[in-house]
Symmetry: C2
C-alpha cells in the first residue's frame, strides 16, 4: 500500500515539504545552476538519499517541483492581497509596499521564487521552463480575474495584469541589484496608475 502519492501524510511528508521549501529558497536566491543538491539537503536537514527517494528524476525534477511549489505559494499570497471586493488600485499599491518592506527586512535577500530560475532555464530545460510558465500564468490569472470583477474587459484586464507583473518583477530585479527599495515605490506608483487607467478606460 503506497502512501507516497500525496504530500498530505502525517510523518513522511515532512521531509518532502522541507526539501521543497529549501529548494525554492536556495534556487531563487542563488540560482539553480549555482546551487548543489547537497546544499539543499543540508538546509532541509535531510539525509542524502532522501532526495532521490522523493524525486527520482534528480535535480531536474526537484527544480520543476520547486517552481510549482513556489508558484502556488505566491499565488496564495496574491489572492490574500487581492480579496474579492477590495479596491484593486489599493491592493496594487499594497502589494508593492509589501514587497518593498520584505526586501528591506531581508537585506534585499528576498527574491521571486520563479524569476531567477526561469531566466536560467528558459532556453535550456523545457520541463522546468513550462513549470515556470505555469506559475507565472497562474498569477496573471488571479490578477486578471480581480480586474475583470472590478469592471475591466477581459482583454484589458489581461493587459493590466501583465503590466503589473512586469513592474513588480522588474522592480525586484533592480531593487536587489542596486540594494535600494526606491524602484519598488516608483514601480508601485506606476502600477497603481495603470490599474486606475484600465478601470477608467473600461468604464468609458
Amino acid at each position: 500500500m503506497q502512501v507516497t502519492t500525496t504530500t498530505n501524510g502525517t510523518e513522511p511528508a515532512g521531509t518532502k515539504v522541507r526539501l521543497l521549501e529549501s529548494a525554492t529558497d536556495l534556487f531563487s536566491r542563488q540560482g539553480f545552476g549555482a546551487t548543489g543538491i547537497k546544499a539543499v539537503l543540508a538546509a532541509a536537514e535531510a539525509p542524502y538519499g532522501s532526495l532521490y527517494h522523493f524525486f527520482p528524476g534528480g535535480k531536474q525534477e526537484l527544480g520543476a517541483a520547486a517552481l510549482t511549489y513556489g508558484g502556488d505559494r505566491y499565488r496564495t499570497i496574491l489572492e490574500s492581497i487581492y480579496p474579492e471586493g477590495r479596491d484593486v488600485v489599493e491592493a496594487t499599491t499594497d502589494s508593492f509596499e509589501r514587497a518593498a518592506q520584505l526586501l528591506e527586512g531581508t537585506d534585499f535577500g528576498y527574491a521571486c521564487p520563479i524569476a531567477t530560475i526561469a531566466l536560467e532555464v528558459a532556453n535550456s530545460d523545457e520541463v522546468m521552463r513550462e513549470a515556470a510558465a505555469d506559475a507565472f500564468e497562474s498569477w496573471l490569472t488571479v490578477l486578471k480575474q480581480r480586474f475583470v470583477e472590478a469592471g475591466m474587459t477581459d482583454e484589458r484586464a489581461r493587459e493590466v495584469a501583465i503590466e503589473t507583473f512586469c513592474l513588480i518583477e522588474g522592480g525586484v530585479l533592480l531593487a536587489r541589484t542596486i540594494r535600494s527599495a526606491e524602484p519598488m515605490h516608483t514601480a508601485g506608483r506606476a502600477a497603481s496608475a495603470l490599474v486606475a487607467a484600465g478601470l477608467a478606460d473600461s468604464a468609458g
Copy 2:
C-alpha cells in the same frame, strides 16, 4: 613594454574580446553558475589557459568584466534608439518593438546581458553585484537624461526611467518564459503611456 592594458590592440586583443562576447552571451542565456568556463572558451575558440592570462581573477573576474562589457554594449544601443532630439514617446515604443522582434527572431533566446546574472549574484557575490548595478545605473542615466531634455524635472525623469526599465526587464522575463512576444507589446504600450504622462505632468 606591456600592451595588455587596452583592448584596442591589433592582434592580441581579439581573443579577449571574443572571450567577453562569449561570456556575456552564455552567462546571460544559461546563467553564470550553470555555465562552465570550458564552454565559454569553446564558444570563443580560445585555448584553455588564455582565460587566466586575460582574467587572472578567474571566473569571477570574467563574470564582472562580462557584465561591464554587456552593460556598455546595451547602453550604446539605448543611446542610438534615443538620439538627442527624437520624440521620447516614439523612441520608447520603438525600443520595446525592437526587443519583441529580437525575441521572436532568436526563438526567444535573446536575453538581457545583465538580468540573469544579476539575480544569481545579488546576494552572493558583491564584486559582480556592483558591476551589474553600475550597468543598470548607466542605462537609467541615459533614459533620465533624454527625459530631462524632453522637459521633465530631474526627479520625475528618474522615476519614468525606472518605470521604463522595470517594464522592459519584466517583459523580457515573461516573454522568454511563456515563449510569446505578447508581454513586450503590452509592456511597451504601458511604458509609452507612462512617458507621455511624465511629460504632461512636467508641462502642467
